[in-house]
Symmetry: C2
Subunit: 431 residues, 2 copies
């Protein structure tokens, strides 16, 4: 029996995480299923930012680097992320963008330890987010290595002692497929390679345990599931075995800005990397954007009182399973193909359907107030041949009735054929 909207209301009433929805300023009459691209605004953020602007900056001025703790933002926010990704206190900093942080950790990884000419590959997944591949290719070229792209299913057979670094995104941005961090890390270590994880689509979305998996480095994004605001700064983690080496100067990254220096206010001419993860900080942090991210992270501290990541994961799986069931049941014959793994353990917190007219269908859906997003099929993409409708499920604020309404509208868009209207096929600059 396909669940009814009333069934969904019952699920919402029993949801232990339901109170958290009240922490967000959600636009009325919108079903927002794009928190995997840009998370929604926490209610606390506006007042906090006003305080930073008017009081800390406006009145405190330069003194606020100390008095308002701006100088410790990178570490403080890092600690608020650490527990979400299985890292320890003091092991994470927030700085720069995910791309810039990825460059830092790849450069640190590639120069770590003794050079071994036999290890000539950086291995990544063919359908990894392009910016990761661009950055990895940059680093590979600079060090005479080659970026080798493989399908996720080939990973196990493609790792050998010619691999220097394995760079993977934990949850694929198109399909939502979740990789087995522990197993892949172990397989890479077995051949002597280092492993870098991009947690852009997993931090705050699925349980992550970097230490348990024994990973080497990780980066991630502040503006998706962490609700840090548009372009929020990113984070970076390195396993303490790398940052706490006795010959700690060995772990170097070339973006050696002053705030990654051991004693930045000594203004010495020579660079000495800070102890621990702080050496991955470069320049002065964008304080307003950092403050907004902190508000997003603080909601997770509250979520901890409602069951934390295990509860979030349970709800995320339930939301996605409900969506898959509703869409597959109600939209039969409309050319939708599920590309996200059906097995909950193999997916993140999103569901993607391929559709030959995905762009127009998503535009029509957005016009009805259901916001997901669209990802075009790419020439290089060997996994699926068509465009994707992508729906992110953020258990902090998405209700079961929202999922029901989204499936209902998708059904209507396809059933009425309204997606064929000309206005839905015009692409804006950004999709």
């Amino acid at each position: 029996m396909t669940p009814t909207r009333q069934d969904c209301s019952v699920l919402d009433a029993a949801d232990p995480l339901a109170p958290l929805r009240g922490e967000f300023a959600l636009p009325e009459s919108t079903v927002y299923l794009d928190g995997n691209s840009l998370g929604v605004l926490p209610k606390a953020t506006a007042a906090r930012i006003a305080q930073v602007v008017q009081h800390e900056w406006g009145k405190g001025l330069i003194r606020s680097w100390n008095s308002a703790g701006w100088i410790t933002l990178a570490a403080r926010l890092g600690d608020k992320i650490a527990w979400l990704i299985g890292a320890g206190a003091g092991e994470v900093v927030v700085a720069d963008s995910t791309s810039v942080n990825l460059y830092k950790v790849l450069k640190a990884a590639v120069t770590l330890g003794e050079p071994n000419p036999k290890r000539r590959f950086i291995v990544s997944e063919r359908s990894n987010f392009p910016t990761d591949l661009y950055i990895a290719d940059s680093v590979a070229r600079e060090h005479g290595l080659t970026l080798k792209l493989v399908d996720a299913d080939e990973l196990a057979t493609q790792l050998d002692d010619e691999v220097a670094i394995v760079l993977l995104t934990h949850v694929n941005y198109r399909t939502g497929r979740l990789l087995d961090m522990a197993a892949i890390t172990a397989a890479a270590h077995a051949v002597g390679a280092l492993v870098v994880w991009d947690l852009a689509h997993s931090a705050g979305a699925v349980p992550v345990d970097l230490k348990l998996a024994n990973a080497d480095f990780a980066v991630g994004c502040g503006y998706k599931y962490l609700n840090g605001g548009p372009g929020a700064p990113a984070f970076v983690w390195a396993h303490p075995r790398h940052t706490e080496r006795m010959d700690h100067e060995q772990l170097r990254q070339p973006l050696s800005g002053w705030l990654g220096h051991r004693a930045p206010f000594e203004f010495t001419a020579d660079y000495r990397p800070a102890l621990g993860i702080q050496r991955f900080v470069c320049g002065t942090p964008p304080v307003l954007s950092m403050a907004a991210l902190e508000c997003g992270l603080d909601v997770f501290m509250q979520a901890e009182r409602h069951g934390g990541m295990p509860a979030l994961r349970r709800k995320s799986i339930a939301l996605a399973a409900l969506f898959i069931e509703l869409v597959e049941t109600r939209c039969v014959g409309h050319g939708l193909t599920l590309v996200t793994p059906r097995e909950p353990a193999l997916r993140g917190s999103q569901v993607s359907f391929a559709h030959a007219n995905g762009f127009a269908a998503m535009q029509a859906l957005i016009a009805r107030g259901v916001i997901g997003d669209f990802r075009a099929g790419t020439a290089d993409d060997t996994n699926q041949s068509s465009d994707l409708l992508r729906f992110g499920f953020t258990p902090l604020y998405t209700r079961f009735v929202d999922v029901w309404d989204a499936a209902d509208h998708l059904h209507a868009v396809l059933e009425t054929g309204e997606w064929r209207e000309a206005r839905f096929s015009q692409r804006a600059a950004v999709t």
Copy 2:
């Protein structure tokens, strides 16, 4: 005759830029002479940021990348900086931090054109801001070059055909000394070197004409004289002769994030740099911090109606000259030594005095509501042997009476000896 406070009031009354002070939310009973470290809050910023947070992010959500123009922020803000630094429209982008941008342009410069093993030096000034030296050293090491530090006065004699790149900060962060951009650029070009200018202490403070000087690359800071807020994103410029080469793929920087791609939303696996300066953009911009910077830049658009950079420069010179005269006249015998060039054409918009107890003296001054800053003498510093009291003059909002009051308080601090009080000698984490 030493000017009186009344004389200063007369100067303020005649100041064509005086109305601009009303554009800033200045704390009462504070004389803020630290705009060269963190500029003050423009009045328009709080409302604009509230709009970005509540309306653009809160209600527009992901749609605001198009509808609110977030995706064009890097270029739009770049254009609002271009005219301040003698660059053309479309030649500047705002992105990342000054340190990160410096890395990009140095990497682009070092790989530009044919490799020439004879050119083995990156030359910079010994007392350049440390982060510039750290980044330059990183790039030098990566490319088998050596960072060679010289005194500013030795530059002319140290340039030869072994120099690949000259990296200089236009206005020295300690002394306020202003280098002759056109002459040094010409001298570097005469030996076949490329020139990178850091405009951190000059953009918005002194007239800059990168194109007239025929410079190669420039970077600069958004949170000092541009009043973009704490940690505001930075900017980057390249001369069009480099970005518009027929073999334009040649100009590469390794932070090849998706927003520097020619067609970022095609999500192709291979990186193709965007045309023009856009290739120096890397990841997703921190929108809140970008929006604040735009408010700072918009004040300069207003300043254009009050005489623009020439008027700002005239007032800056007059403010600094007044301060030097007042301090040197009134504080005789208190051990202050002017380290900023006395000749207006040779200084930026700050005045620094060396003092053996500079730290405590500045703390005592701050306690009186006059905020300048302190820079410790460093072991590597060959130019001066003691600590510096540093005063920045921002003609957009600093009045002549503020300068008089600052000198008056400095005199009182030294005359009373109150700086000897224990509370003024305790150093906080950040100074």
